[in-house]
Amino acid sequence: MTSIILLSVFGIINLFVGFMKSKKILLPLALLFLVVVFGTNLLSWNNGQTYFNNMLTIDNYAVAFTGIMVLTTLFILPFSQRYIDAEDENLAEYYSILLFSLVGAIMMVAFENMIMLFVGVEILSIAMYVLAGSNKRSLRSNEAALKYFLMGSFFTGVLLFGIVLIYGATGSFNITEISAANVMADGTTNTMFILGLLILIIGISFKISAAPFHFWAPDVYEGTPTLFTTFMATVVKTAGVAAFYKLMHSAFGDSITAWYPTMIAITVLTLVVGNIGAVIQPSVKRMLAYSSISHAGYLLMTIVAFNDLSDNAIFFYSLSYAVASVMSFGVLKLVSDERRDESFAAFNGLGKTNPLLAFVMTVSMFSLAGIPLTAGFFGKLFVFSAVVATGNLMWLVVLAVILAAIGIYYYIKVVIAMYMQPAGENTKVPVSSFATLVLIICTVLTILLGIVPGLVSDIL
């Protein structure tokens, strides 16, 4: 709760600081804010409370995911260096929007009431619409914003319709009460409830870009300025999945038969679409967009798994995925800003010109691909474990394994470009010290979690 308040306050402070001439102070200040938020967030560990008349619950689950999201934001901000250097007049607004949207994200992982879920989703989404279109003069940015906005608001309507139907069937927005209402307990099929449930699932699926409601994602990711794409791929996705997981488990755990087939279908489809779609993308950014769809699929597997292992699995996976994504998008941003190119060719010879960046990118690719020595491996291992533990979903694991192998196919292409292709005319990419630091921290974190996953693998 303190985190939400602090973030809101800091967002406003940031706006005011923006009026001052000196933009230099903005970044350190924002980082400082985030560090403070991260710290205060940890204070709530094992110290859960509910707020607003049972509308928000800050439990360990919320704290853990808030931690991931704040940390990720902390890592993302230093890549805005270019905006600072360019004396972009809107910088303070961007920072503030990010801080505000974090509030939405935290609400999504801490919601106890559908209203909070809805508000959180919208805070996050509306902020994203703005950020997607933040490059006003770029047609691509415009297009991304419009697509995101139109489809996003459409699915806001869908989401709401679902919530309303559930409200109609159960008479409550509170997830505990919904669960307690237990409308399917006596074996009756409450059409309104099921309809609402399915529509709700569809609505959230859109937000986390699960197939077949993923169509917006590749286009929007590609058009959005890379800095904000990173945010979308990490914070937004983490928040969405965490909320989804919480919703399904807390509110609809008992009505699993109603949503299980649909959920499995969505999971499978997401895995397939994400992995297959990424294979031939010529643009690294678009490839990463598809890859983020596929990771949504792996995350959804935890929802399908639905057992006592899935909590930790989703947490670990989210963390490893978020960190790896920051690294990959971060390097992509640095490289594409310098080389004005987002294709694989932009990475040619990076191993020669920027060994560090290339190494970071390699680690992140391996982590995303789930190869040992990186956190991604254990992420996948835990997710698969959770699914196997259900006992009857071995086929899903096999499918996921095959698709993971396909994933390696496209991730390794980046590595090949960096180390095995000649640099050609590509020159050294300048990297700010902040960004370097962040990349190193992320890399260390990824490898550390890849060697001793026990550090965080069972905190929930």
Partner: protein, 109 residues
């Protein structure tokens, strides 16, 4: 004011349900068929209002204020969405002198 729920209850709940579902469907169809960004957005608003009506009705039927409270939230959020949405559309209009969504298909495949 206490009579309002009673007045609402004079119409069967199914009517509200069908009405708002129909309204919602009209909104969806509008989104599907229109090419003008503003009209599409209006249709989305139509969907939201369908939800609002249903919420209100359900709230009244159940004598539960939560539903109506939610309506306010929805309205507020919708307002915010309108701001942002219109701003985006205006921005695009400035760039391409049109609000036809079909024209914006540079990002694909």
């Amino acid at each position: 004011m206490n009579q309002i729920p009673d007045i609402i209850r004079q119409v069967p709940l199914e009517y509200y349900l069908f009405f708002s579902t129909a309204l919602f469907a009209i909104g969806v169809i509008g989104v599907l068929t229109r090419r003008n960004a503003i009209v599409i957005f209006m249709c989305v608003e139509l969907m939201l209002n369908a939800v609002n009506i249903l919420l209100t009705a359900l709230s009244a039927y159940r004598s539960d204020p939560n539903g109506q409270v939610f309506v306010f939230f929805i309205m507020a959020v919708a307002a915010a969405e309108v701001c942002v949405g219109l701003a985006i559309i205006v921005m695009i209009y400035r760039n391409i002198r049109s609000t036809d969504v079909q024209l914006l298909n540079h990002l694909k495949w």
